[in-house]
């Protein structure tokens, strides 16, 4: 169980990390990066699976089902879309630097 | 029968330009026009008769002129030449409308349609026909070269084992087309360039070439943005500031002019006598009297130890490119006059109307008509 101050520390450090790693990003990457981070929070799929895995009542199961479905959509869709957008940064580019 | 364009040999002394160059002739011929050239007309400009592959070379000037629909010239035709023209022929070229009334009267009386290149209005659309600008560019460039060549000093700075040579100070007076080109060229050669003009908007232009504007601390901007007449006192201050810059200059290139009027006298004898020994003045305004009191148009001479040169017809000193640019100006202008193989000017057109000097036995240019015939403007 992560709780109390520890949670706060993890939260602070993760927030710091998130802020730092994208603090110098060119405008043209804004949309791909938005899409990429959209994909990353697709990790909610893991949570949805756990929630559904422990769901007991039908209602819980239904909600869990919907949750997993949505989360899977987030993860898969986020990946596909980001990948396509980043295609244009192929480094091949006429063999230039 | 196709339109016949004739290009006579230029007869003005010292003129090396030719109205059409081979490449432009080719373009015209491709459009179905017939071009005939007096033998040797291109030679002073280094275009040999054999280079004009698509023109017909005619040895007889009278035959050439008498048989032409359009005559293209650099300088105005002499009165005798006008006599050779067919009535109602068209002549295009510089016409010097402000001088030599006989010539203009001859044109009028022989019912010649004549267009003066110098009268083409300076509007955006007409820039590619603007022979004043194209030839003034050459003048400015050449003036800077002449200054560098005549002065007894280096233009650029040079740090050498035999001492450090300080860069020359070059002063440009009058920042029109020629003045700007002179600034650019003198700067290229490494001189420290200052420039002066009465029009305040030239300051930015001077600076856009990396040169310094001489601030006489008198603003000529009056109400409504128009230039206003300076008071005597302001005029004196202007002259005084200018005199300081003149005294420091190793070379002066003056180009100040007011169209159709004698050039303003800006550099006085007293100023010249304050200049450094070995300095030079290139007075491009010599054709209209010169910006320097001492200038003798066409002559180069020393006053005390200052060299003063007021060259005439500078573009003719670089005849290859001068002719090329002038020919292209003519070509662009012809496009307004000749349509579908016939001479059909749009008389309403601002450019056609503006540049028309004589037609139907009338003088169209108001100032000239008034001078020659009297009456209202």
């Amino acid at each position: 169980m992560i709780a109390g101050m520890t949670a706060l520390y993890i939260f602070m450090l993760a927030a710091f990390t998130g802020y730092e790693i994208i603090s110098r990003v060119p405008v043209i990457l804004h949309t791909p990066l938005m899409s990429g981070s959209n994909f990353v929070h697709g990790i909610v799929l893991v949570g949805a699976m756990v929630a559904m895995g422990h769901a007991d009542s039908t209602l819980e199961q239904v909600i869990g089902f919907v949750g997993v479905m949505l989360a899977a959509g987030n993860a898969v869709g986020g990946y596909v879309v980001t990948e396509r957008m980043l295609e244009m940064f192929r480094s091949s580019k006429r063999g230039a630097k | 029968m196709p339109i016949r364009i004739a290009v006579p040999h230029e007869t003005t002394p010292g003129e090396c330009r030719v109205a059409l160059i081979p490449a432009v002739v080719d373009q015209l011929v491709k459009q179905g026009v017939q071009v005939r050239l007096q033998a040797g007309a291109g030679c002073p400009a280094y275009y040999r008769d054999r280079d004009y592959t698509s023109a017909e070379i005619v040895a007889d000037r009278a035959a050439l002129l008498g048989d032409a629909d359009i005559v293209l010239t650099v300088n105005p035709l002499a009165v005798e030449d006008v006599g050779l023209l067919r009535e109602d022929a068209t002549v295009i070229g510089f016409m010097h409308p402000h001088e030599n009334d006989d010539r203009i009267i001859a044109l009028r009386d022989r019912n010649i349609t004549s267009f003066a290149m110098e009268l083409i209005p300076r509007i955006s659309r007409a820039q590619n026909m603007d022979a004043l600008s194209s030839q003034a560019s050459i003048g400015g460039y050449k003036a800077a070269l002449m200054a560098a060549n005549l002065t007894a000093r280096f233009f650029p700075m040079l740090t050498t084992a035999a001492g450090t040579i300080r860069p020359a100070k070059v002063l440009i007076i009058g920042v029109g087309v020629a003045g700007l080109q002179a600034i650019a060229t003198a700067k290229r050669l490494g001189a420290m360039v200052e420039a002066y003009d009465v029009r305040p908007e030239t300051r930015e232009q001077v600076e856009s070439l990396g040169a310094k504007f001489v601030d006489v601390k008198v603003s000529a901007v009056g109400e409504g943005g128009y230039a206003r007449e300076l008071s005597a006192e302001e005029k004196a201050q202007e002259m005084e500031v200018l005199a300081q810059h003149v005294a420091q200059a190793d070379a002066i290139i003056s180009t100040a002019g007011v169209p159709g009027r004698p050039a303003p006298k800006i550099i006085t004898t007293a100023m010249v006598e304050q200049m450094k020994p070995g300095a030079v003045i290139i007075d491009l305004a010599a054709y209209s009297g010169g910006n320097c009191e001492l200038t003798i148009p066409g002559e180069s001479f020393g006053h005390e130890l200052v060299m003063i040169y007021g060259p005439l017809n500078v573009p003719a000193m670089m005849p290859v490119h001068a002719s090329e640019m002038y020919a292209k100006n003519l070509y662009n202008f012809l496009a307004l006059i000749v349509h579908d193989g016939a001479i059909k000017p749009d008389w309403e057109d601002e450019i056609v109307a503006g540049s028309l000097l004589t037609r139907d036995r009338q003088i169209y240019h108001a100032l000239t008509r008034q001078r020659i015939e009297g009456g209202d403007l």
Binding site: I10, H41, G67, N74 | L180
Partner: protein, 455 residues
């Protein structure tokens, strides 16, 4: 097993961070998404081995359905429709967070109030993001073009938000609850999300989507705490923080503040008027132009009098060299009357050592514009004014011009609204494919150089 699961989550959290880091540079962006993808795969697969789980079959079915639909839609959608797809997928993430919270709330077993609070906060944020994102999606998809606005909207929305938060607090204080109450809670949150997104105009949508994206991240992190799932906590928090920064950056790049995007969207009357005439001048950021040019195939640089005034020729040459070194095909288009004297541009460019063979004149370059990716106009105005071609009443009508307007993108560097020599309005600046980079020619070119160098 538990250790392996924990380590896997740890690894995937690290992969997410590294992936995002790589995505923030154009050079490494492409493998950034792969790293993050591997992290996701690891986390998802290992979750199947979570102890004490059941419902495996429907779970797999749900994944297949959700994933399959997303795969299909994500592959087929046109490049131009990407933003709404991001909105859609983001909404789904928010919905999932909400669903997790709902399941947990229904179960009602929280070790402490703080966990309950986190669950509810995550549910609230996730639901807002869910419904808001769907509205954004619908709008961008063209199903609801016009921003919906009505008097008192702002007050109404605030009230709605207050109600949602109020019921959240009530739930937290109460500690246990009926499904009716939960239903009401979700209904309120969803309604607020819808109302929040409705009044926002199309141009501001990307900013709002980014905001919802950050919110979803936060919701996921909160639910991660509830489920004691470190991967969710880290990934969610990182996205929440990065997304917030990104939202700010995007708003800044569009010259808007987030506040004005969200709340001042009402007073757009002024903007509307200008648009009515000829479109509007759209500013752009040097960084963006830098990337645009760095990744272009063909760039044409059009210098004018303004370059001379700014004495920007040296910088321009440096920029062109940089681009050429990257393999971009760079040409200079010299208009016959650019500047204030014949050959004005030649003198300056020669001074700056731009090789003559990069210079093209009007007739040579005009046919090349349709294949040009970026036409960079620096301090030129009249010589690129399409009204010279189209409007017989214009004083410059008939003057041949450089057809910069035919390039795919046009970037204009100038200081402000200054007119050219002829004093006429320039239609090019209002064109759809034109962006204005306002500032002194030299300073802006320096910024462009900087921008290209960082790539």
């Amino acid at each position: 097993m538990d250790t392996i699961i924990q380590i896997s989550y740890f690894v995937s959290a690290v992969l997410f961070i590294l992936g995002l880091k790589r995505m923030s540079s154009p050079v490494t962006a492409r493998d950034g998404i792969v790293w993050a993808g591997v992290g996701m795969l690891v986390a998802t697969l290992i979750t199947f081995f979570h102890p004490g789980m059941h419902n495996y079959l429907p779970m797999t079915v749900a994944i297949a359905i959700g994933g399959g639909l997303a795969l299909w839609s994500g592959k087929k959608v046109a490049m131009t429709d990407m933003p709404q797809m991001i909105a859609l997928y983001n909404g789904m993430g928010g919905g999932a967070a909400g669903a997790i919270a709902a399941v947990e709330l229904l179960k009602g077993e929280f070790p402490s109030t703080s966990f309950l609070a986190l669950a509810i906060a995550g549910a609230l944020i996730g639901s807002i993001s869910f419904s808001g994102s769907l509205v954004a999606f619908a709008k961008l998809q063209g199903w609801a073009r016009k921003p919906l606005r009505f008097p008192g909207q702002q007050v109404f929305n605030l009230a709605l938000l207050a109600a949602s938060i109020g019921i959240s607090i009530y739930l937290i204080v109460l500690g246990h609850f009926s499904s009716g109450l939960i239903l009401a809670f979700f209904a309120l949150a969803l309604a607020y999300g819808v109302m929040m997104a409705l009044p926002i105009g199309g141009a501001d949508m990307p900013v709002v989507i980014s905001l919802f994206n950050a919110l979803t991240g936060l919701a996921v992190a909160f639910e991660g705490f509830v489920l004691n799932n470190a991967a969710m906590i880290i990934a969610g928090t990182v996205v929440g923080s990065a997304g917030t920064l990104l939202t700010q950056l995007m708003a800044k790049a569009m010259n808007r503040s987030i506040g004005s995007v969200l709340f001042r969207a009402f007073g757009t009357a002024e903007g509307g008027a200008a648009e009515a005439v000829t479109g509007s001048m759209k500013p752009i950021d040097a960084a963006d132009v830098g990337v645009m040019m760095a990744y272009a195939e063909r760039v044409v640089i059009i210098p004018g009098y303004g370059m001379a005034v700014a004495q920007a020729q040296h910088k321009i040459r440096e920029l062109s060299e940089l681009l050429i070194k990257r393999g971009v095909d760079v040409k200079f288009a010299i208009h016959p009357v650019a500047g204030r004297m014949p050959g004005h541009m030649n003198v300056l460019l020669a001074e700056a050592n731009v090789p003559y063979d990069l210079l093209y004149d009007l007739d040579e370059i005009n046919p090349a514009f349709p294949q040009t990716d970026v036409a960079l106009v620096i301090g030129a105005n009249d010589v690129v004014n399409p009204t010279a071609r189209t409007n017989p009443d214009s004083p410059i009508y008939g003057m041949p011009i450089l057809n910069a307007d035919l390039a795919k993108n046009v970037i204009v560097i100038k200081r402000g609204q200054g007119k050219g020599f002829s004093g006429v309005e320039n239609a090019l600046f209002f064109a759809d494919n034109t962006r204005m980079l306002y500032g002194d020619g030299q300073a802006m070119t320096s910024e462009l150089i900087q921008a290209v160098k960082t790539l």
